[in-house]
């Protein structure tokens, strides 16, 4: 199985032990040099340092055309949206997951058929709920 992850951060690093296993090849793309250096030591993990204007070249180099899973996990919602849609619509990657921090964008892109993850929409609901529950508290 080929897994391509866009964005290197604590979440990505924590995921790697879950994903790693026999026959699993993981490639992590990102602009975060320190994080890439630290995850590169995991067995079966390849890392690629990227720069924004050439994103498509890096996706191809990372093997997007035969990836089984694509995770867009960077801290930049717009880049995540761009690459996740490329993975889904251009390269037909079977499983695409896109992390988004903005609650507005979470709602829109879920409606557009992306598999969106992120807790801020839920958090927003929770805050509204809490305010309703305790109007004076």
């Amino acid at each position: 199985m080929q897994v391509l992850i866009f964005g290197c951060n604590r979440i990505t690093a924590s995921l790697l032990p879950d994903l790693a296993g026999e026959g699993v090849e993981i490639t992590v793309l990102g602009s975060e040099r320190d994080c890439l250096e630290s995850v590169a030591s995991h067995p079966g993990v390849r890392v690629l340092l990227t720069a924004e204007p050439l994103m498509q070249d890096y996706l191809q180099e990372g093997g997007i055309n035969h990836a089984d899973v694509f995770l867009a996990m960077s801290g930049d919602d717009h880049q995540n949206i761009l690459v996740a849609q490329i993975a889904k619509h251009i390269f037909n990657v079977p499983k695409v997951v896109c992390h988004l921090g903005s609650p507005q964008l979470q709602v829109l892109y879920t409606a557009l058929g992306l598999n969106v993850i992120g807790y801020s929409f839920g958090l927003l609901q929770d805050v509204r709920q809490a305010l309703d529950d305790n109007p004076r508290g």
């Binding site: 924004e52 204007p53 050439l54 930049d76 717009h78 880049q79 949206i81 761009l82 619509h89 557009l112």
Partner: protein
């Protein structure tokens, strides 16, 4: 027409001036305070300070009644998001986006952005036009994936000079759509005769422009 422009770099500024001159109604959204102040001085109250990916700002700009939204920020991904928000949430009938990376063009078309302007491509075309001895200019990518429009100027020593177009064997799926002679532009027919310095505008599959170029320049 009512046009909302998001991101007012050089191109956005000139576009808004041209639209205003054409008596269109224009609002420009700019995130950067310094640029916004310059714009306000130049364009007056049509400049709006704010983030064009934010629904509240877009509503303030009156995007719900816009005929066109042009996303002209310097970041391809941001232009994609603005176009998708305005298309799907605000039902804007026509979305236009500027891109820098030519490889991003297919995904913009795929998700239904109406007009995709590829700045790198345009600059490249202008540069190619100015390079002597290289009379192949990429004009634009067509909406049909994998096809492009090119312009080839026939050199004096080409072996197709004096031939009729029907006598020239073109690669499959390539055809000449316009012939520009010294006397002006003409719609070519099979009987049109090629003369030196004729400019031929042709449709050809991407990646095969070199084959067409070799045939028309007669090497």
């Amino acid at each position: 027409m009512y046009v909302v422009i998001v991101g007012c770099s050089e191109s956005g500024y000139h576009l808004s001036k041209a639209l205003i001159a054409g008596r269109h109604e224009v609002v420009v959204i700019e995130k950067d305070l310094g640029r916004f102040q310059l714009l306000s001085e130049e364009l007056g109250s049509i400049a709006l300070l704010g983030d064009g990916t934010d629904e509240v700002t877009l509503k303030r700009a009156g995007v719900t009644r816009a005929d066109v939204v042009a996303s002209l920020t310097g970041v391809d991904a941001t232009n994609l998001v603005i176009s998708q928000i305005t298309k799907h949430i605000f039902k804007v009938p026509r979305t236009m986006a500027l891109i820098k990376d030519p490889k991003n063009e297919p995904i913009f078309h795929e998700v239904g952005i109406d007009v995709v302007v590829n700045s790198t491509h345009l600059v490249l075309a202008s540069l190619e036009e100015g390079v002597p001895g290289r009379p192949l200019v990429h004009l634009m990518n067509l909406r049909v994936p994998g096809m492009e429009l090119v312009s080839i100027t026939v050199p004096e020593d080409s072996n197709i000079i004096g031939k009729r177009l029907s006598e020239i064997e073109l690669p499959p799926n390539s055809f000449i759509s316009l012939m520009i002679k010294k006397s002006g532009a003409t719609l070519p027919t099979g009987r049109s005769v090629v003369e030196p310095e004729d400019e031929l505008v042709a449709v050809t599959p991407t990646g095969e422009e070199q084959i067409l170029y070799d045939i028309l320049t007669g090497v």
